[in-house]
């Protein structure tokens, strides 16, 4: 594939083909809504169309990526590199998962509004722009295009006050955080004279970090830190994850978080590559705090959904630690961990969705007792997910965690690695009881889990997720290769802390 000149319309269209496909699909679904919006079949159709759109987008992405699309000249507005493609891949996978989980869920819970898929697709588009943004303006707009539909989706279950409360909380504090992000953009723009990340990077590399840029950077970190639910900007997450419909929670925990992290990596690596000392302490602190708070509080939760919410805070901590490393290895680890995290989380929420007929909030550690006796495969899948989230060898989660740990230990600040492993240990204290409950306890009653059976779509999502978790856990070469290669091309050589291997 020839280098793409991003200043020509064709170039832009080519470069943004996946995004445009997703947007177009959302419009198709919207049109579909115009005359079909009443029955379950309509909703299902909308979902299926969305799925097709996302898969097509994925195909387009694959074409771009395998063609090795590069920008002729500096990239414009959105990046055109492997890292963006990888990011889009993660986001699209998360979205496909979100659709698959929603297909039956909406029907079951009577949320028969095909607009859901439309919103989901628009949010996906937003995520794609956010994750691939090469310019802070695109970043901000991508963030908003992502957030606004997700606010709505969180409140989507109109019959449920909790859903509404979740939506409101998320919206208010989200808008609040957006203001911080925006302020950050303003200050960075002020300090460097540009909103293009490459220019910012070149400016900060040349002149260091004036206080204005420093403040701007921190405000950006705050804004993105909010999106990825990092402590102390995480307080909304448990409530919102808890209250939102489960497929939305899955979508938030995977897509939103992934997009946030990918944007964060890009901002830091491209925009502030040579002033790593200015942001490492902050990220380190956020990472440690997230790991500690997330894991400790998760320990006390009985509701699995809420526990997963806190655990997602903890995972944000792990990911922040990878970003903290500020190296190629760190960037690769972020991708890899996001991959494992997205797969695992989708599968987990998929299972949770079927366990929680009549309210996922009520699915507790005790209520899954004896699942292994009644639904062995479901229990196996959930167990695999738990071990993957725990980061246990043999699962993709371990490979991701390993990548993070090796990225951190390559730096000289190994305390963060110790915090990571110790908090991982704490996490065993809440992941394992679920496995324990499923396998080592007897079902509460004869009728337990009678309803727990995965509908076709969710089954696909869960099955693919679990299989990939195991396959990549044992044979992670493809993922390692692609992430390492991607990160190598992405991160400037001057920054790379693995290759230069200074003592």
């Amino acid at each position: 594939m020839n280098p793409i000149d991003m200043r020509t319309p064709l170039g832009i269209v080519t470069a943004m083909l996946p995004e445009l496909i997703v947007v177009a699909t959302s419009l198709v679904v919207l049109l579909l809504n115009a005359w079909r919006h009443r029955t379950a079949a309509d909703s299902r159709l909308a979902g299926q169309v969305s799925l097709v759109g996302l898969v097509v987008a994925l195909a387009a992405l694959a074409a771009l990526w395998s063609g090795g699309a590069t920008a002729a000249g500096p990239p414009h507005m959105v990046a055109l590199d492997g890292y963006r493609f990888a990011a889009l891949g993660v986001v699209l996978v998360a979205s496909i998962g979100g659709v698959l989980l929603a297909l039956d869920y909406l029907e079951r819970e009577g949320m028969l509004a095909p607009e859901y898929y439309s919103l989901l697709l628009m949010a996906t588009a937003g995520m794609m722009y956010l994750a691939g943004a090469e310019d802070l303006i695109v970043l901000f707009l991508g963030l908003e295009v992502m957030s606004v539909p997700v606010y709505v989706m969180a409140a989507f279950n109109r019959r449920n006050v909790l859903s509404a409360e979740a939506g409101l909380k998320y919206f208010l504090i989200g808008a609040f955080a957006s203001a911080f992000l925006l302020y950050g953009i303003a200050l960075v723009y002020g300090a460097t004279g540009s909103t293009a990340l490459t220019v910012i990077g070149s400016a900060t590399s040349a002149q260091g970090l004036p206080v204005m840029a420093g403040l701007g950077l921190m405000l950006l970190v705050i804004g993105l830190g909010f999106k990825v639910a990092s402590v102390p900007f995480h307080m909304w997450a448990p409530d919102v994850y808890d209250g939102a419909p489960t497929p939305v929670t899955a979508f938030m925990a995977t897509g939103v978080k992934a997009a946030g992290f990918l944007a964060l990596v890009r901002v830091l690596m491209v925009g502030f590559p040579n002033t790593i000392d200015s942001w490492q302490p902050a990220l380190g602190g956020l990472a440690a705090a997230s790991m500690i708070v997330g894991n400790l509080v998760a320990l006390t939760q009985r509701s699995i959904k809420r526990m997963l919410a806190y655990s997602s805070v903890a995972h944000a901590g792990y990911l922040l630690a990878a970003v903290w490393a500020g190296s190629r290895a760190g960037a690769a680890a972020t991708l890899m961990y996001l991959g494992s995290y997205v797969l695992t989380t989708i599968a987990t929420f998929g299972i949770l969705g079927v366990l929680g007929r009549g309210g996922e909030r009520d699915v507790t550690v005790d209520s899954v007792a004896g699942l292994a006796r009644r639904r062995p495969w479901l229990a196996f899948a959930l167990a695999v997910c738990m071990f993957s989230l725990l980061g246990f060898p043999g699962t993709f989660g371990f490979v991701g965690k390993w990548a993070i740990l090796s990225a951190i230990t390559a730096e000289h600040h190994r305390a963060l690695a110790v915090v990571l492993v110790l908090t991982s240990l704490v996490s065993a204290g809440y992941y394992l009881p679920i496995v324990r409950s499923m396998y080592m306890k007897d079902p509460v009653s004869e009728a337990s889990h009678a309803q727990a059976s995965l509908p076709a779509a969710a089954r696909i999502a869960v099955a693919i997720g679990v299989v990939l978790i195991l396959v990549f856990g044992v044979a992670p070469q493809p993922v390692v290769t692609s992430t390492v290669e991607t990160a190598r091309a992405f991160v400037g050589t001057g920054l790379d802390r693995v290759a230069d291997l200074r003592p």
Binding site: I137, R158, A164, G167, A175
Partner: protein
Amino acid sequence: MLLGPSLVLSAILFSIGVAGVMLRRNAIILFMCVELMLNAVNLSFVALSTAHGFTGQVMVFFVMTVAAAEAAVGLAIILAIFRHTKSVDLKTMNLLQG
């Protein structure tokens, strides 16, 4: 020459907005405080564009769009919750906790 003072004013207004978000419980007023914060940031953009050209002003334009979009969705959400609780008081919105 007004750049510095404008930035200071922006910071002040932003902080007032922040304080408002912390102090108020009425969801609508809280949202208005967020709007105030966005306005404060806009001031920064405009002020900085005196140094860097029109990019800042373009940004303000986008922010206004975003604010409008957020307002639409936000007020819709407030409407939605009002249907359930007949209130926009955040103090009562603590069903989700723990």
